[in-house]
């Protein structure tokens, strides 16, 4: 049969540019928000329990906790909440998409990869707020301490969260097997809680591990966030910010590369 192509119209031009990116970001944020609607309340509850639990748990571990130490541990709990959202929750969500078969559909959508990634980071940031707030409120109530919040708190928390989310995304997009991704998140929890100078000073670590942490982001995350919530407790140096920015950029580049990679 012959097909009547008399009505055939021109091929549309490819969308690009800032306006298109913003439209895609807004649409994907809507997609992510609706998509997380059933799970988000549960995640928020877990975050609140974890944030509050860290703070209360340290009090059990150290019975005669003084105000200084309480402040150190409570700010550590805040940092922990921010890191775990990015390095544990983000990869778990991606592993879940790979297991249920929706992963390929999501990446066949006509939006820039960066807009889709930033939409999920935005949702992660919103999901992190209750855990952070719970940790701080419980600390104030339980140990009668006060935080000195400086204007750097916003960039410090956002950079910590963004860096964690992008590192988590790079791993989860780069590793094909969902089981391996889940194993990575288990190791991340183990390493960050047990062997990273977030809830304890870096000089307690053996020298080689302390040196390693100069190059990893976790110590620097703790320093920038803690310095934005306290005065005189830690000294933040430009190198802390630089290491975090470097990790964020590196993770963004790797995420970008693995997302455009086609098998």
């Amino acid at each position: 049969m012959t097909v009547d192509t008399s009505f055939a119209v021109d091929l549309p031009a490819k969308r690009s540019g800032a306006g298109s990116w913003v439209h895609s970001y807004a649409a994907m944020l809507r997609w992510e928000t609706r998509g997380a609607r059933l799970l988000l309340p549960l995640i928020v509850v877990v975050q609140i329990l974890a944030g509050a639990g860290f703070v209360l748990g340290f009090g059990l571990l150290i019975p005669d906790i003084d105000a200084e130490m309480a402040l150190y541990l409570s700010t550590g709990a805040v940092v922990m909440s921010l890191i775990l959202i990015g390095l544990v929750l983000t990869p778990q969500v991606i592993a879940q998409q790979k297991m249920e078969g929706s992963y390929e559909f999501l990446w066949s959508l006509p939006v820039p990869r960066s807009a889709a990634t930033m939409a999920s980071v935005t949702l992660a940031a919103v999901a992190a707020i209750p855990g952070v707030a719970a940790a701080m409120l419980v600390a104030v109530w339980r140990y009668d301490i006060s935080f000195v919040v400086s204007p750097t708190v916003l960039p410090a928390c956002l950079l910590t969260l963004l860096c964690g989310c992008l590192v988590g995304s790079a791993v989860a997009h780069g590793v094909e097997e969902p089981q391996v991704i889940l194993l990575f998140t288990q190791l991340a929890i183990f390493f960050i809680i047990g062997f990273s100078p977030v809830s304890f000073p870096i000089d307690r670590l053996p020298p080689w591990l302390a040196t390693l942490h100069e190059f990893l982001p976790f110590h620097h995350m703790a320093v920038v966030v803690r310095s934005s919530l306290t005065t005189g407790m830690v000294r933040v140096a430009p190198i802390d910010w630089m290491v975090l920015v470097a990790w964020t950029v590196l993770a963004a580049v790797i995420t970008g590369l693995v997302l455009v990679r086609r098998k």
């Binding site: 097909v3 192509t5 021109d10 091929l11 549309p12 490819k14 969308r15 298109s20 994907m28 998409q97």
Partner: protein, 327 residues
């Protein structure tokens, strides 16, 4: 910002035929290629069916178009666009209903379709208007505010179809669109697929349901083991069987192939079904042959009917299609 996909203007480029040339995809160098030199063409306004058994390479082809897999060699073009070189353009120009259900557990049906429209670049008002239109034509309005997790498989499939076509690009890929859909809404779905084509999109349909495809597509190709084994309109594919009838003999499971009389034009055994094509003039001889097989305990029953695309499909792929299994 460029022009939205799906909202073209007249007057410049007229040819937006979808062309696949010599497409090869090798996953494992020691195995046969998943796609082995595919060449095909789909024009605007056309419903094109790709038929083949599981593992024939249908989804591999679609995933290469959507930029999820990279071809080993060959080209995929839509008009002037090179979709292999520019996967971002491919995702904007091609709409895709995957074989797996859409991940819409926590979406209300209406939200899922509207959001898909926004993602495809529609304005909120346009997305809403198209959503209402699709839900009404597919008769799924009563589930508009039902969460995906509570929808039946069939309704969920229709919502997925609406998501893929709410703002259709120049080509729409539908991978097994009628899976799980009840017969009544299946008809509405086919009508809607025809509307998508009439509005100017090319529709590329992947299915292993031969009988449905026979009734609904303009042209089709049969793919087996990575190669296109035949291509044309449903009637041109059946022309070889003109003046023939089909006789399906259900053999006793485990029975050896019976001796075939000379009048059998062709035969293919799939499991315990022996599908034969015979000349119309040999019908009475064929009936006696089949009755003899039953009498001697080699066969359980037989069925005689008009030849269909199913016979062509069986001959070319050695498989019974989805609908053939249901019989």
């Amino acid at each position: 910002m460029g022009r939205r996909v799906g909202m073209p203007v007249r007057g410049r480029m007229k040819d937006w035929t979808f062309r696949v040339e010599n497409l090869v995809k090798v996953f494992d160098a020691s195995a046969r290629p998943a796609n082995d030199g595919l060449t095909l063409e789909v024009r605007p306004g056309e419903v094109y069916g790709l038929l083949g058994p599981n593992g024939a390479g249908k989804s591999t082809l679609v995933k290469q178009v959507m930029g999820l897999l990279k071809p080993t060699s060959g080209s995929i073009r839509l008009g002037d666009y090179d979709l292999v070189a520019d996967p971002a353009a491919a995702r904007q120009l091609c709409c895709y209903l995957p074989q797996a259900q859409m991940p819409i557990d926590s979406f209300k049906a209406r939200e899922a379709i509207e959001t898909a429209g926004l993602i495809r670049g529609a304005s909120p008002a346009e997305a809403r208007r198209r959503t209402d239109e699709l839900m009404s034509s597919l008769e799924i309005e009563e589930w508009a505010d039902t969460f995906g997790v509570k929808l039946s498989g069939g309704v969920r499939r229709l919502v997925g179809f609406a998501m893929a076509t709410v703002c259709p690009g120049p080509i729409v890929f539908l991978d097994e669109p009628t899976n799980d859909v009840d017969p009544m809404r299946r008809r509405l779905l086919w009508e809607r697929i025809r509307v998508v084509a009439e509005e100017g999109s090319a529709v590329f349909l992947v299915t292993h349901n031969v009988l449905e495809a026979e009734k609904s597509v303009d042209r089709l190709a049969i793919i087996n083991e990575g190669r296109l084994v035949d291509q044309g309109t449903p009637s041109s594919l059946k022309s070889e069987d003109k003046g023939c009838m089909r006789m399906l003999v259900m053999l006793v499971p485990g029975a050896p192939d019976p001796d075939e009389p000379g009048f059998v034009v062709s035969s293919t055994r799939v499991s315990h079904n022996l599908a034969t094509v015979i000349d119309e003039r040999d019908v009475s001889k064929a009936i006696s042959w089949a009755q003899g097989l039953i009498a001697s305990g080699q066969a359980e029953e037989y069925a005689l009917g008009a030849t269909s695309l199913e016979d062509v499909y069986i001959r070319l792929t050695g498989e019974v299609s989805a609908i053939g299994h249901d019989r």
